[in-house]
Symmetry: D2
Amino acid sequence: MSANSFGQILRLTSFGESHGQAIGGILDGFPANISISLSDIQAELDKRKPAQIGIGSNRQENDQIEILSGIFQGKSLGSPIAFLIRNTDARSQDYEALQNLYRPGHADDTYSAKYIHRDHRGGGRASARQTAVWVAAGAFAKILLNAKGIDIKAYTEQIGDCKLEIPYTDLDLTHIYTDRLRCPQETKSLEMQNLLKQTAKDGDSLGGVILGLIQNAPQNLGEPIFDKLHARLGMAMLSIPACRGFEFGCGFKAASMKGSEHNDLWLGKSNQTLHNYAGGIRGGISTGEDIYFRLAFKPIASIGKPQKLLSSTGDLIDYSLSGRHDICCVPRAVPIVEALSALVIADFLLLQQCSRITNTHTNAH
Amino acid sequence: MSANSFGQILRLTSFGESHGQAIGGILDGFPANISISLSDIQAELDKRKPAQIGIGSNRQENDQIEILSGIFQGKSLGSPIAFLIRNTDARSQDYEALQNLYRPGHADDTYSAKYIHRDHRGGGRASARQTAVWVAAGAFAKILLNAKGIDIKAYTEQIGDCKLEIPYTDLDLTHIYTDRLRCPQETKSLEMQNLLKQTAKDGDSLGGVILGLIQNAPQNLGEPIFDKLHARLGMAMLSIPACRGFEFGCGFKAASMKGSEHNDLWLGKSNQTLHNYAGGIRGGISTGEDIYFRLAFKPIASIGKPQKLLSSTGDLIDYSLSGRHDICCVPRAVPIVEALSALVIADFLLLQQCSRITNTHTNAH
Amino acid sequence: MSANSFGQILRLTSFGESHGQAIGGILDGFPANISISLSDIQAELDKRKPAQIGIGSNRQENDQIEILSGIFQGKSLGSPIAFLIRNTDARSQDYEALQNLYRPGHADDTYSAKYIHRDHRGGGRASARQTAVWVAAGAFAKILLNAKGIDIKAYTEQIGDCKLEIPYTDLDLTHIYTDRLRCPQETKSLEMQNLLKQTAKDGDSLGGVILGLIQNAPQNLGEPIFDKLHARLGMAMLSIPACRGFEFGCGFKAASMKGSEHNDLWLGKSNQTLHNYAGGIRGGISTGEDIYFRLAFKPIASIGKPQKLLSSTGDLIDYSLSGRHDICCVPRAVPIVEALSALVIADFLLLQQCSRITNTHTNAH
Amino acid sequence: MSANSFGQILRLTSFGESHGQAIGGILDGFPANISISLSDIQAELDKRKPAQIGIGSNRQENDQIEILSGIFQGKSLGSPIAFLIRNTDARSQDYEALQNLYRPGHADDTYSAKYIHRDHRGGGRASARQTAVWVAAGAFAKILLNAKGIDIKAYTEQIGDCKLEIPYTDLDLTHIYTDRLRCPQETKSLEMQNLLKQTAKDGDSLGGVILGLIQNAPQNLGEPIFDKLHARLGMAMLSIPACRGFEFGCGFKAASMKGSEHNDLWLGKSNQTLHNYAGGIRGGISTGEDIYFRLAFKPIASIGKPQKLLSSTGDLIDYSLSGRHDICCVPRAVPIVEALSALVIADFLLLQQCSRITNTHTNAH
């Protein structure tokens, strides 16, 4: 089944627990004969590094990717690309006391109910550490998108109640990753940083919102009925730990709009409208305009303040969590949003190639 | 591929264009030896009938389901259940003038770009008529859920800016379908009806919000990483035409909450918390508490007010849409939300049975 | 799951019991904008008609296909093509006495064990009647293959111990369907017919062998490891009722050959060898040469001679089968072999289009 | 797509080229809370070691499995089990001269046509080395089968024209792996060994036949129509490099039998027949009797005798292959047949658990 796999033509199967030997994945369906720069892949992975925001987790996840297959002489073979990232600096002893305890807001209790046997160390399989695998796979997908001129971006739009109100069309999105919080407006980022520092002092945590953006996609991606472009994007985004909601175009605001307002007015060219309120998708298929969407993240469950834990025998236990934890997952989720977007779009791009009978097989790249 | 199929063990494959011969589907993976009442199936289908709100579409979709296979002597065979609903009262001539025109807010342009050849009559494959197939399939799924005591509900929470503010836990949800708008509070429903009438007079349309609720699900549904319960629910809901967003638990509100607020406090039993802000899902797996979520719908694209259409040659054309159209899709989407929820939960229920090695094969029902 | 579905990009999902309302299927993934001649589809279906061999089943399966979706104005829409064939002339009363009896060589006992509730009429879901659905779907696949110049043939090579010893390369394969037994050599066909007549008189039945042939396939179909072209062909052929074995190229004879004999010698052009002992497939991928394979069929289980039946309570019952039965399934299986071959090849053809990044989307047909 | 994956509930995704960094796989869907002995897994892998027959390949594939995830404290977690086997003792320089040459009987030309960029070293992805991954995965599947009392065996029945004529029911199958050729009859094994020695001297190679046997399977495995037990077994077996044919029960011999001969006579208990000519499968579903089948293997393509190679530019080149090669793949394929059988049966066993609604979730193991 697809529980640990994602995608149809370009398909990632992932593995690994937070404190196990390694995390990694197999990316199947990547076309052959494409040049791969391993330093580009590593550079994407580095975007996800923790601790760079100066606040929160001090776990030194100096993640180095090791490619095991699928690439030869710098080019893809068309065979599965397997890769792994060794787990280092995992302080499993921090978690020993938690072996039979369920933390509030974590998946400890549901994993115990479902699997009986559970790896309690650092969240095990439920840890967000898994997302490093997605970022690595997404880096490969981006190579395909680059070849087609498709551009993918994401940025922090909100942390706690501190919100960037300017629409993406009025922002300079070229330097997102030079900002600690992956926020494209410096003054707002500084506000957010102050908020995070205060929250850290309070022993608390925050949530937020990310905006995702896909530009220059062709006017034919996505499938009708059950594989609509936004449904597949939504499923991908809702897979990110702590994600609580997904919307595209006007999203939840559309519920209060009138048809005469929301209907995108044609500008006289087939794929251009005045406002693009549809978010670049009509009938589940890309319109050729910008595709944009938002994800909401809940605050991180691990907080400094003491909270009661539940024991497997049903008792409430006073506990202050040690371990190293982020205050807000949003900045680190930005490259994850990009990676999953790239995987979704690349998959639909390849899938679209099956939907026509071509006259000649083009071998070009 | 899965473009027209949904589910893994219990899998619906759907077919049909709005004005073609018939719509229908094949439901594969339905367990054998289960009693099926066809009148129960038809009753679910009747919930989706249009025109019952007295406002909007007058198309008489008197949908009668015909079962072609999979049931013998009133019980399921374990073979695929195929069914169809003939398309009647389809006034295709209403659409003749639209053959080479793209309506604003519809999928006319994207279908043309993707498929070149398009059935322009009544939206063709992109029509919401397809959802009748989902409701029929969901009626079968509900038979499985009933056997397990799992209960599924949905209701209209918002139409336009008219919003029901009372939480679901304080509402009487037993008579949702006796209300024209599928709104569980009569005074609010009347407000909504007045708003709809005024909007109809204005030649405009409205969106809204539906709340979905799943009760008595066991504490083990959903799979980690890419098949999280909420991700699969989200994908299903985002497949509904006009859906623009999905959230579960506190949803987008969680973005502004602090960890100390949002973390669900244990009540001392493994699957009970004080607030259930998590919406009954932790780590992608059901907690045993109520699962609840919200969907936002954009206003219906077809409106009475004149709007410019785009011709396939790039010209803007003045046009007033004829045809019969709803003012708001929300009331008719309520049974669709129920049906897709039932399909998702029944699928995970069957899938969960593969996750353990049983000692004995139980044949019971 | 895939129990009632076949194919990845071009995917058939089938339904129907032998004596139910109808049999039929949904063919998903068929490219848009392709001209479809319904009389061509019906003509393929007519090839499978029984009773034309003048010996055996008298069931008048005058199968008429009804298309429910996916085609508009004579061209495919890219949406699922649903079709059905009503079950007529089904004499269910012939089977009444068999409700709790298991016939030797039939699937009565295994279906009862697996599903508990069973449609005993005419074999129910286990009936070879289902193959009419495959032939209809294969007729669509052939339209795609014709557009690419790929040719598919099959013929009767052996019935009982009467065997056509001439290799396919020395036979005239243009008039296979004018022969009652689908045997390309008249004298051998007459021998087979005499053998069948004698067998009918004896109240017995026969098996046989079919040779399948795919010509002009490109040099890139099939996938390595688990989706080898011959593995997928083998799986398809072994799905045909009564099929007991599949081999390609030299098949089982290769087991006794030496490497120096079996290795195909190059003729100096990349895709041509002296003998093509490999059957047109190397490493699971088509070589561009003829793809040929053989299937063995067991004799039909329903025979005139009395045989003991097993009751569901474990008793042995003397019984002479009534009902209308073929003496040998091989002639009627010939178009089925063609249809499944066409489905496999068309699916790999579309799949291969995903394996490269194309520079431009070609819309042609 | 499934090109590098196998199975539906228990699903192996494999990776690796013969001379790359490593081969390995991810086994997804393995139930949680099952005790795993790594030495048992390694012991299965050791059965496949080359060079133990004293004839043929001297590559020291001292394959050591490394488990990366899915197991914690000696028990499965229900998360994907990832494992790898490093490639050591790969003498890539042996293959340098072959970079632009296509060997007869190998997949060099088809891989070049399909992928353009090819790893020529040791066959790359097309190498039989990949089967070590299958054996490792099969070792996990066997743990599940052992818990159910299902037993899987395979043995060498024929090498070249030297054939073991005794049926499996009359052989002692307890010591297959103590025989160098995995042949259960010592005198026949010695004959085969002499034949292999002579063939090695002649610079040639041989094919052969393996018999596979599955005992104590329940009476409900396999799905109708497209996922018949024998069709899935056949697809698995045809995936083994050099396999040219698959048959079950009487196989190709059934083609010459009469119905009155071939029909299995009931013995008066539901799942017992006089001869089990059906090979333990009726209608694609296991009967509860022994499941047995045969696979034919062509002779190994790499031979000592000089043969002409084809250059990528179309020239014929005289060449004597160096490198280390087996004379016959059959003995080493025996554990592969077992492993794939175990994967197929375990997958159907889990899948069958989805086909009923259970009253209670049994957590036992």
